[in-house]
């Protein structure tokens, strides 16, 4: 029997880590993810996990220590947000290039500056090309479930890539919701023991990790990384299927909400999907054929699948909770539109940058986006594709 609980997103992540029982956790506090290592230290102090907790002096050292620990042959985990991830940035690339299946909880927050501790996705977007698998979570349940699936995906021999599970800072990390937990024993069985093929502590086979890798080799090593990311798609599908067998909770690359018969749809990630679902329901009552596509697997990006899922629509809006400051459009928008172009799906698509620095996102604003989409569907005119909502500006 699964366990019914009421937990915040951070508590859910910490409980997942407790059940995973990693060998090493190295972390440095930063709002809004601080509670994760904080709760976890309590588990360490009370002996409910076997983990060595390394209370490092910075996030750069947190990722460095995770790399050292994972390369040594152990399971290593961490949690961070925003500037913490920025400080780790150098090591984020090194972790993936060394093919170390480290798992991170990323509680999304705006990257400075100016300083802001609230939610947007600018931290995650900064590492979107770093070779980490990135799973996004609408609520505490998904943050928990994604973490339980993380090691099976990351440690798969065809993958061997680090993985981060994202959730929205404060909006889900600090909101208490109902959640269904899996029993400890089932989690243990589902994840299995970590048996790396090569590791530093294996005295029978000393190994060297992290060479100077010059023109004659780096390209091939990067190509192998790219292949691992391609392989990850199949593995994520398999693990999600096994997870569904265990819990009954179904996970795909993305969630289609009332999409199959929709005429207009929004594409977004994390907690905004919850608000959008509410708006879709109310619009459906009025006879508007609104739908939603919520991206769960952002890296690897399910390009062909998303293009297919959106192909029947009359207009699409992609919501980006981070501005790319490139005078062209947000990251998710560019990924979605190029996926559609390459797959020869010609649907009018617009981009909305929203919710920056924790700016509240209301159902009225989402409804406004659907209204815009219906206008585009009617006229076929996109106008300016790079739009905003919720920002004060000169008319």
């Amino acid at each position: 029997m699964s366990i019914r609980e009421r937990l915040s997103g951070n508590e859910a992540a910490a409980i997942a880590m407790k059940q995973i029982n990693p060998d090493v956790v190295a972390a440095f506090p930063i709002t809004p993810s601080t509670e994760i290592p904080q709760y976890f230290s309590t588990f360490v102090s009370n002996g409910s996990v076997d983990t060595e907790f390394v209370a490092v002096e910075s996030e750069h050292s947190a990722m460095s220590a995770c790399i050292g620990a994972e390369a040594a042959g152990s399971r290593a985990m961490t949690a961070t947000s925003a500037n913490g991830l920025s400080l780790m940035w150098e090591m984020i690339y090194i972790a993936s290039s060394l093919r170390l299946p480290i798992v991170m909880s990323l509680v999304n927050r705006a990257v400075s500056g100016p300083l802001n501790i609230h939610n947007d996705h600018s931290d995650a977007m900064g590492v979107r090309d770093s070779g980490w698998i990135m799973l996004f979570s609408e609520n505490n349940q998904e943050a928990y479930d994604n973490l339980l699936m993380a090691h099976r995906i990351a440690e798969h021999k065809d993958v061997l890539l680090p993985l981060m599970v994202c959730q929205d800072g404060f909006i889900t990390s600090h909101s208490i919701e109902n959640i269904e937990l899996v029993e400890d024993e089932k989690v243990k069985e589902f994840i299995g023991t970590y048996k790396p093929e090569h590791y530093l502590l294996n005295r029978k086979e000393p190994m060297a990790v992290g060479p100077l890798d010059v023109q004659t080799y780096l390209f091939e090593h990067k190509y192998q990384q790219a292949n691992a990311m391609r392989n990850a798609k199949k593995v994520i599908e398999e693990v999600s299927r096994d997870f569904e067998k265990m819990t009954g909770r179904k996970y795909s690359f993305f969630e289609e909400y009332k999409l199959s018969d929709a005429e207009v749809a929004i594409v977004c990630m994390n907690s905004t999907a919850g608000t959008a679902k509410f708006v879709v329901d109310s619009l459906r009552e009025k006879g508007v054929k609104a739908g939603l596509l919520k991206v769960r697997m952002f890296r690897p990006f399910p390009a062909e699948e998303i293009a297919n899922a959106l192909s029947h629509l009359k207009a699409v809006a992609v919501l980006d909770k981070a501005d790319s400051l490139n005078a062209a459009g947000g990251a998710l928008f560019e990924d979605v539109t190029s996926s559609m172009y390459v797959n020869k799906e010609q649907v009018p698509v617009v981009n909305y940058v929203y919710g920056i620095g924790g700016r509240d996102t209301t159902s009225y604003e989402i409804e406004g986006v659907y209204n815009d989409l219906m206008e585009i569907a009617k006229t076929g005119e996109v106008g300016n594709p790079y739009r905003y909502f919720g920002v004060r500006r000169e008319k």
């Binding site: 490092v56 050292g68 390369a71 090194i94």
Partner: protein, 317 residues
């Protein structure tokens, strides 16, 4: 058993192999080789290199000079990287995932750039957290890997590519940071300063102590650089000897807070003896620059006197 260099070299296999790309006359390779000889033969080691000359020259894909396990991640985080590996070892041991009778030692090597400067925070954190590891700094007194730029370990007045001895500014205008003292202030079990002398006794004994002292240890080793310092490659050992005989680089250790100077020259040589053979100090010998040598000598004397006092104070009953 008394130290015997022939015994050590003959009986203890080198764990740092030939074929690496370090320069002729570089002070660092003998340090790494002798340091690792202090490992007990049955013990496995995980070695971590900070980015720098030693790392890029000894582990260029697909070749490695290290017979033990080796990891390099980046420039500023050898301390943190190795602390993660050591934490993994403790965790796996505690859980019975590694057998009780196998022992692994953790040793980091970083240059003065990766240790005194960009990696100081990571080193400080690792030492403060009490990981059972040794951090060895091979101090060649500048960022040699990128082409002789000043570091906080560069001595006063030295000519480097970012503190060039010009017509208005005569070299580096700041004094050298005393990292060994900074590390002693961490109150860790073992801190030492050493050098490769002709029979390697001082280096070997301190290496063994550092490796087999439980808890964190830091060893600072002066490792001359023929390119950066400007001495003929065959004069490495003479330069090392002059560094200790002038008390430019005192040999000492701090064991649980007690200072012990392990070499006191019978006759302390004037600093000119150390400065003269090196191109980086050439401008100090131009007429009119005598004040620079005087100032250098004064600073050095003050540091030596302070060290003698520390030894006296910390050994009082």
């Amino acid at each position: 058993m008394a130290y015997n260099v022939k015994e050590v070299v003959a009986n203890k296999p080198s764990r740092f192999m030939a074929g690496h790309r370090m320069c002729a006359g570089c002070g660092a390779p003998p340090v790494a080789r002798m340091f690792l000889r202090a490992l007990h033969e049955d013990d496995h080691a995980v070695i971590c290199g900070a980015t720098g000359c030693m790392e890029v020259s000894t582990f260029m894909y697909p070749y490695t000079s290290w017979t033990d396990s080796f990891i390099h991640t980046a420039f500023e985080c050898a301390g943190a990287t190795l602390s993660g590996a050591e934490a993994a070892y403790r965790s796996l041991k505690k859980q019975g995932k590694l057998s009780d009778d196998e022992h692994t030692k953790f040793i980091a090597f970083g240059g003065d750039g990766g240790t005194y400067d960009i990696g100081l925070q990571s080193l400080s954190g690792a030492m403060e957290r009490g990981h059972d590891m040794v951090y060895v700094c091979y101090d060649n007194g500048a960022y040699m890997n990128t082409g002789i730029q000043r570091s906080s370990a560069t001595p006063h007045f030295a000519d480097t590519t970012t503190s060039p001895a010009g017509t208005k500014v005569p070299g580096k205008m700041q004094v050298r940071k005393d990292l060994t003292e900074v590390m002693a202030s961490h109150h860790i079990p073992y801190v030492a300063q050493t050098i490769a002398t002709a029979n390697f006794k001082d280096l070997y004994e301190k290496a063994e102590k550092a490796i087999y002292t439980k808890g964190p240890a830091f060893v600072n080793v002066l490792a001359p650089c023929p390119r950066g310092w400007g001495y003929p490659t065959d004069e490495l050992m003479q330069i090392n000897k002059l560094a200790v005989d002038t008390c430019y680089w005192p040999l000492y250790e701090v064991e649980n807070g007690k200072y012990k100077i392990t070499y006191k020259p019978a006759k302390k040589l004037p600093i000119e003896e150390f400065l003269k053979p090196q191109r980086r100090f050439k401008h100090m010998f131009k007429p009119g620059n005598e004040w620079m040598i005087e100032e250098f000598q004064k600073e050095l004397d003050e540091r030596w006197e302070a060290l003698l006092k520390l030894e006296e104070i910390t050994n009082k009953e």
